[in-house]
């Protein structure tokens, strides 16, 4: 049987080519992601190894339940005093101990100009530390010049200096929390063995200067070198004994492994994300496979009948088809894996050319191979099961029939199943949205999947009347070509429906994302309607320095600046996000979605919907425990949007709980009658001196920026869906190509009675266009519907308006029609160039 299966694939590989391409494309997507994330993991694990290479033991803040390490705005606290370093140095087996301190700041390029551009202010981060002068501690070796000896000296890594335009002796500017600081470049260092910094800038200054900038002479880390022959982990344990609460000692090796593991965990999410898209692509591909095998089974009905007549059992036939599917799967998965690997290799070269060395060696990871084959085989076999079962029911008598056509079984069963699934899907979505259950997205997501399959099944029934309804119109416009095209769609409703459905899924997802992002834009617009602020302040470095706010407040024409801070506290032992605002001014600048307004806070706390879900209500007492102190607050109101912060407090409480908390957003309100444009220039000029990386955006600019980000999101997701759409179009081409082969005799006959080649081509093009547009329209209806459902499900996050993305929908429809014509090009060409006599004599 296996031999027969292989022979059959080999005998007519053309009809399986597009199927193989579809599978390969999906597999390639997965393989490329695995290869890239693997290389990225390799690159970073090398970086982590080098960071901790020389240091035997690291003493640092213990990762605690407050989850500080996960808070991107949390400053690294100076938790070790000079005495702690001495204590560690005195532990048995310790050769030397160094206090390490990181300075938050950005090394500015030599030709830096303040630009008030959020994008330009970003870029690769700077890592700035105090200089120990010991390569084992610094992880950097001086290779030119000298180390920083006096407080106005600095060293940079060898790649950053030329990149930023500095040579030894030049003045280097660094934007820090206390303003722009200037240094003289006295030396160049190499990080680790090969200065692979993944694009970051590395800088070292003296201990005293770093303490001055941070405003704190404590250390956030102690690096330990053990004596020769001492066991690092034993020393680490000994150090642990004497350490203050909340800190830990860990060996450099363990630390590197821990960081690599943490990074790999992040990469795993990328993998999952990419596999999701690969699965979508393969799901669409499955429709093509179903169609291909269905058509192949039809074409080979007589062959199968003959095999049945000479004694092949139905089961054997089924096995044979599945084996054929397996052969296709293995071949195309292999191609997909190779293409994916090569694609990843090419991409890594391009990326590294643009942003420096960030990947390790790009090798094909075993994950990529395993997932590639598993996904490819699974999808192909599952998709081939129905056609295989169909083949196994072919009676030997079919061998003796004159011509092979798909059995004209009524669509009743298909409709019942399809209707039931559609209903089930809708019910699941409605339940998810309106029953207020725990995790609404689970029933909504599952409902959507079921709905897709249900609609696919029903599409066969919809397509028939539709084709008939269109027949009159198509006949009027295109005459006999249009009539024949409508007949062809109508002739094999299942096949046409599956083809259209493949496209439907891709378009549905696009329309869904477009609906979602457009609604997000409406949300942004709405938020700005209740806005009274003249400018929003942004910092590319994360938190906004206090000093910068003082500069703004000190300018003429500024009425007040109101800021939002963020931190983490414990509530009943659980980490809880707390937002800090000034109740008196916050509500004046911005109309928050809360009940009542923030100015009614009255020294208490506001809670968000997640807290309400957890059982808290207005009037309750909250016991909050922060790094700096505790506070018991009465809940005085509710904040109605989920996802910003769970508990809101005023600035006094914020300081009491958190001490200095990072400010994540500030709004500037001008005096009445001040011209905002002139004021923006004035404020930026004032900031340029000490805080050149800060950005001031007017509400209009901010809204535009937010919309740009949303469009970027739409772009990225659309690009990821591109593979699915290409596969769907291959599906249209594939179905047409196989249908053309199947109709060879008929086309020959049409040509024989005088139909011109041009007409044949047009007939196929119309068929393709109708299927493509039909799939697109169905997809858009479903996509907008599901998108609206999703927006509704996320109401807690502030979504109020569902916006239908009409412009996108129009674009998709036009694109579908064009794509239909493109997909029909090859099949139409094939059909038109057929030799009349050969076509008529064509056998099966």
């Amino acid at each position: 049987m296996f031999r027969l299966a292989v022979k059959s694939v080999k005998h007519n590989p053309k009809r399986l080519v597009l199927t193989a391409v579809a599978v390969a494309l999906g597999v390639a997507l997965a393989a490329a992601t695995f290869t890239l994330t693997n290389a990225l993991s390799g690159g970073f694990s090398k970086l982590f190894d080098e960071i901790y290479a020389g240091t035997d033991v690291i003493v640092e803040e213990a990762p605690d339940e407050l989850g500080d390490s996960e808070d991107p705005f949390a400053a690294t606290d100076a938790i070790f005093a000079h005495g702690d370093v001495d204590d560690v140095a005195a532990v048995d087996g310790v050769a030397s101990a160094w206090g390490g301190r990181q300075v938050s700041g950005t090394v500015l390029a030599a030709d830096f100009e303040p630009s008030n551009d959020v994008m330009a202010a970003g870029g690769a981060p700077s890592q700035i530390f105090n200089w120990a002068g010991d390569p084992r501690v610094d992880q950097a070796t001086l290779i030119e010049g000298e180390g920083p000896a006096s407080d106005d000296e600095i060293v940079l890594d060898v790649d950053a200096a030329p990149r930023l335009g500095y040579a030894l002796g030049d003045t280097v500017s660094i934007s820090t929390d206390i303003g722009v600081e200037e240094f003289t470049l006295v030396g160049l260092v190499r990080f680790g063995e090969s200065n692979s910094l993944q694009g970051a800038t590395l800088a070292y200054m003296t201990d005293a200067r770093s303490a001055a900038i941070n405003g704190d002479d404590g250390y956030d880390q102690i690096s330990v070198i053990v004596e020769d022959g001492a066991d690092a982990s034993a020393v680490a344990e000994a150090i642990d004994e004497i350490l203050p609460e909340g800190t830990r000692a860990i060996t450099g090796e363990d630390k590197a492994a821990e960081q690599t593991a943490q990074f790999d965990e992040i990469l795993q999410y990328i993998d999952i994300f990419a596999i999701a898209f690969a699965l979508i692509a393969l799901f669409v591909g499955a429709y093509i496979i179903v169609n291909t095998f269905r058509i192949i089974v039809t074409q080979r009905t007589r062959e199968f009948g003959l095999l049945r007549a000479i004694g092949v059992s139905g089961r054997q036939l089924r096995t044979m088809i599945l084996l054929e599917a397996l052969v296709v799967a293995v071949v195309s998965a292999t191609i997909g894996i190779v293409v994916g690997y090569l694609g990843a290799l090419g991409l890594s070269v391009v990326v590294e050319a643009l942003s420096g060395e960030i990947f390790g060696t790009v090798t094909l990871p075993i994950d990529a191979v395993v997932w590639g084959y598993v996904l490819g085989a699974l999808v192909t076999i599952v998709a081939a099961i129905m056609p295989a079962i169909h083949a196994s029911t072919i009676s030997p008598m079919e061998a003796l029939r004159e011509s092979a056509t798909e059995s004209k079984k009524p669509l009743r069963l298909r409709n019942i199943v399809g209707g039931a699934l559609t209903l089930l899907g809708v019910v699941a979505i409605v339940v998810g949205l309106y029953m207020g259950i725990e995790k609404p997205y689970i029933p909504v997501g599952a409902g959507a999947m079921i709905l897709i399959i249900g609609v696919t099944l029903l599409a066969a029934q919809v397509l028939v009347p539709l084709a008939y309804a269109l027949k009159a119109m198509l006949t009027r416009i295109f005459r006999v070509d249009g009539k024949l095209a409508a007949n062809n769609i109508h002739r094999e409703p299942r096949r046409s429906a599956n083809t259209a459905a493949a496209l439907m899924i891709g378009v549905m997802l696009l329309a869904l994302v477009a609906t979602f992002t457009e609604s997000m834009k409406s949300l942004v617009t709405e938020q700005f309607q209740g806005n009274n602020a003249d400018f929003f302040v942004f910092s590319a470095q994360g938190a906004i320095p206090e000093g910068a706010l003082e500069v703004i407040e000190g300018e003429d024409g500024v009425a007040y600046v109101t800021s939002t801070g963020l931190g983490t506290v414990l509530l009943d032992g659980e980490a809880t996000a707390v937002g800090v605002i000034d109740p008196d001014t916050a509500e004046l600048a911005f109309d928050y979605n809360n009940e009542p307004d923030f100015d009614q806070m009255d020294g208490g706390a506001f809670i968000d919907p997640s807290m309400v879900d957890a059982g808290f209500e207005v009037g309750d007492e909250l016991m909050l425990e922060g790094a700096e102190g505790t506070a018991t607050l009465t809940v005085t109101g509710r904040y109605l949007n989920e996802g910003d912060a769970q508990v809101w407090v005023d600035e006094e409480t914020g300081h009491a709980l958190l001490g200095d908390y990072p400010i994540v957003q500030s709004m500037v309100v001008l005096d009445d009658g001040v011209d905002p444009e002139a004021a923006q220039d004035q404020l930026l000029d004032a900031l340029a001196v000490d805080y050149p990386l800060l950005v001031l955006q007017s509400p209009g600019e901010f809204e535009q920026l937010a919309n740009q980000f949303i469009d970027l999101l739409l772009g990225v997701i659309s690009a990821m869906l591109g593979a699915a759409l290409i596969i769907a179009l291959l599906g249209v081409a594939n179905t047409l190509l196989l249908s053309v082969t199947e109709r060879t005799r008929e086309i020959g006959l049409l040509r024989a009675v005088g139909v011109r080649r041009r007409s044949i081509r047009r007939m196929i093009r119309i068929e393709s266009m109708v299927m493509a547009v039909f799939g697109t329209v169905l997809g858009m209806i479903l996509g907008v519907g599901l998108g609206a459902a999703l927006v509704r499900a996320l109401e807690d996050f502030g979504f109020t308006t569902i916006t239908v993305p009409w412009a996108w929908l129009a674009l998709y429809t036009i694109a579908a029609a064009i794509a239909g014509v493109v997909a029909a090009w090859w099949p139409a060409h094939r059909a038109a160039k057929m030799d009349i006599l050969e076509a008529i004599a064509f056998d099966g």
Binding site: K7, N12, R302, R308, A309, I310, G311, P396, M397, G844
Partner: protein, 245 residues
């Protein structure tokens, strides 16, 4: 009917209806028939008289509406689809009028297909003998599409013979061939019966083809209306004329 000869196949009260209600057609109308072993039986009759239907139901390709049929001792009208498939595989060979071969397999692979399916070994001597007699030696590696119609039919006959089935059914095997190719094919089938004791039942329209057989059954309107032993082409033609063919 004689009961002394062993029977390769037989049918009692064989009835076959197609369609329902007004569209119902009775293709076989209570047929009793015996196919003796080592005999070459021809089935003749006007178009639509039920010849193909008789052949198909005898061979277990199709089921009777009523009545019983046997292959050897096995009553196939009582068997499940799977069991019938097995009987076909082990005991029966087929030659159809057209589309006899799997397009993706070479001539040789087509011929050995029944053996491959049932996992039996090829008897090389027997294979060579068949190939030699049928004159297919230089065509074995060709695909069906590369063979002439006559060659394709000879490959089909070779395939039917190679597994030494108890019974071969052929439906107008020479229908698509010119008279010389047809005569060669029929001559070979007759030799298979005479020299190797093969049993063959063949449907044909052609009195000349029928004259190669030992016995001709005449069908009309789903019933057997006559039978002729040691037929000649002229006698068969006369009989057909009487039936208004």
């Amino acid at each position: 009917m004689t009961t002394t000869v062993t029977l390769a196949a037989s049918m009692r009260g064989g009835t076959k209806d197609y369609g329902h209600g007004d569209a119902a057609v009775r293709a076989l109308d209570g047929i009793d028939v015996d196919i003796a072993t080592a005999e070459f039986t021809a089935i003749m009759g006007p178009s639509g008289s039920g010849k193909s239907t008789l052949l198909h139901t005898l061979a277990g390709l199709d089921r009777l509406t009523a009545g019983q049929s046997w292959i050897g001792e096995t009553e196939i009208s009582a068997l499940s689809e799977d069991k019938i498939t097995q009987v076909r595989r082990d005991k029966i060979g087929f030659v159809f009028q057209a589309f006899n071969l799997i397009p993706s397999l070479s001539a040789k692979e087509n011929i050995t297909l029944p053996l491959d399916i049932s996992g039996r070994d090829i008897d090389p001597a027997w294979f060579d003998e068949i190939i030699g007699i049928l004159g297919l030696g230089d065509r074995l590696t060709h695909l069906p599409a590369e063979l002439s119609g006559g060659q394709q039919q000879r490959v089909a006959v070779a395939r039917a013979l190679v597994a030494r089935p108890e019974l071969i059914f052929a439906d107008e095997p020479s229908g698509n061939l010119d008279s010389r190719s047809g005569a060669e094919l029929l001559g070979f089938m007759r030799r298979a019966v005479k020299e190797f004791g093969q049993t063959i039942a063949m449907v044909t329209h052609d009195p000349t083809a029928a004259s190669y057989s030992d016995r001709v059954l005449f069908l009309a309107d789903g019933r057997i209306v006559d039978e002729m032993r040691e037929p000649t082409a002229d006698a068969v033609l006369d009989r057909m004329k009487q039936m208004g063919h």
